[in-house]
Symmetry: C2
Subunit: 347 residues, 2 copies
Amino acid sequence: MTPGKVTVYDVAGEAGVSIATVSRVLRDHPNVADGTRDRVKQAIDALGWRPNQTARALAGKTNDAIGIVFPDLSGPYYAEVIRGFERTSGHRSAVHILATHERPSAHDHVRGLAERVDGMVVMGQTVDDELVAELVADGLPVVLLARPAVGSTPVVATDNAGSARALADHLVDHGHDTVALLGDPDHAPDVEERFTAMRGALEARDVDPGEPILTRGFEVEDGAIAMIEAWEAGRRPRAVMAANDQLAAGIYRAADAIGLAIGTDLAVTGWDDHDLAGLLHPGLTTVAQPMRTLGTRAANAVLTLLAGGQVDSVVLETELVVRDSCGPDCPLAPPLPHPSSRSTTGG
Amino acid sequence: MTPGKVTVYDVAGEAGVSIATVSRVLRDHPNVADGTRDRVKQAIDALGWRPNQTARALAGKTNDAIGIVFPDLSGPYYAEVIRGFERTSGHRSAVHILATHERPSAHDHVRGLAERVDGMVVMGQTVDDELVAELVADGLPVVLLARPAVGSTPVVATDNAGSARALADHLVDHGHDTVALLGDPDHAPDVEERFTAMRGALEARDVDPGEPILTRGFEVEDGAIAMIEAWEAGRRPRAVMAANDQLAAGIYRAADAIGLAIGTDLAVTGWDDHDLAGLLHPGLTTVAQPMRTLGTRAANAVLTLLAGGQVDSVVLETELVVRDSCGPDCPLAPPLPHPSSRSTTGG
DNA sequence: TTGTAGGCGTTATCAC
DNA sequence: GTGATAACGCCTACAA
């Protein structure tokens, strides 16, 4: 049986035709007599033949695959993007997902991936500009996702600056006059964008955020540690804007340890609208990103590129999700103690 | 420039040798004169040659890649597994991640992936037994992850039954005598295992869990909806054991809507020890799985298989994480209002 | 130690 | 319509 070993030659022999004809039938080429076509088709599934993908790729055609490179896969963010991506592109190509995890070998892995796909999506700070440029120069269709532009390569992104400013303004409206930023802008371009916009909005209202409280990653634990250390070092913000929801959750934990009440003693905001964000106590004020749409758009973009089309960059809207962690008596927050009306399933 | 177009022939020409020698140098074959080796190496990086992976694979050798198939990528579970997996195998091979999302085309995608890798890890209910058997029969090294065995294919799994029983017992110890199961056992073999064990433990203590409250998925929203519907249908459990933490979080939401207090009116347990589980209010009692280790073990297993070695199945220990959602005055729960001592970064 | 030549399984360009 | 046959880029006996 072992269907992996059947080749065009076997099928051709079985059907009494040449391999060229088998190939034509496979690719639905018009110039094949109906009778022949039937015979070949019968031979194909009699033998259970499936064309060897590697050989097909070598012969100069397509890999029938698209690659997507992520910095990491944890958190609520990526899974949804992938979902959107696969829903859109998965019917036409295989999707190879690569997580670089900031490994030094990332460069090689990306290059390796590039050889196995027909197009590639690059998300965040995973691949440096130089490599992106090389890939593009090699003729590989590339789409950038939530990442600064490189040359004229199309970018699909979400609006960081707008919501960042809105969030900062909202905090100032609450009366907070000492607010700090918490995260690691150096390892995530979108975080850097957010921080820059937040700082701008705060300074415009005469609030100086000072130096960001640096974290060593973007997990709950990282946020808790950084916050506690900052506190012990004498930092006394009344409001902290975290780079994402998990770091924000870390602040909840730190507040617990320090003896601070979130919302009253210390305002906190996050980013992403994590699926459990609304169930924290108090509910976390954050920013929702259209993650699945991000994936869908990226997929459509590569597919268009593959088809030889032109793609323009897009910036998708983000949405403020105001709950209670931003401060007491929030004019925008819903009334319930556990604000939970917001759906997490998204669009 | 375009390095993608350089071939062995170019390098051979540049170095004044044959392609065979180039190939030998590349593969560190011993029988090459030192001088020749140097000349070839210089030529290689003078031209920036990188062997074409597709051609290499076609020539009958290796794909330099391992595949890993997941049912889905959302939730706290998979990202960690992948992390462990890539840490271990990533230096030696590329890793192709495939999420099937229960698509009907999953079968084809898995077959397609099988052609591009040297070995494969299959997690959960993503691939039916028949296909697994086919792949194995075709000679592909396969490792099963958190999935029922198929033939003698090695399985890496976590202990579902033990912790499930412990969790059920703990609930009964709390005095709960009407407990329900919530989830979708039909679409996740590990959930089925947990439910079976829970049911057994409950019945041994004369508690009848009745029919599980069925959900349509494993997201927060799915849990909330199912719980509310069950309540409206007259179901009145005093304790609910959810299949995972997200569904459990959904119960928190439902409880809010219904007007029930988690921990007192309604006990809840989850599974996975989601990174925010300890920050829910009250903290969620759940079960921690060694997710990264799961990935590490799986990776080691395929690597061993690739090297021609033998691999035995393993079952990794899981750990009860008792917080407050299981009921008031829990003898095992930590004293703080927001129990948060447990690290989420894992081992 | 090094080179020649025949695959690996398709696709695609020619003739017929 | 159909069939040889030359790529595609590399690996690897087998020779030299």
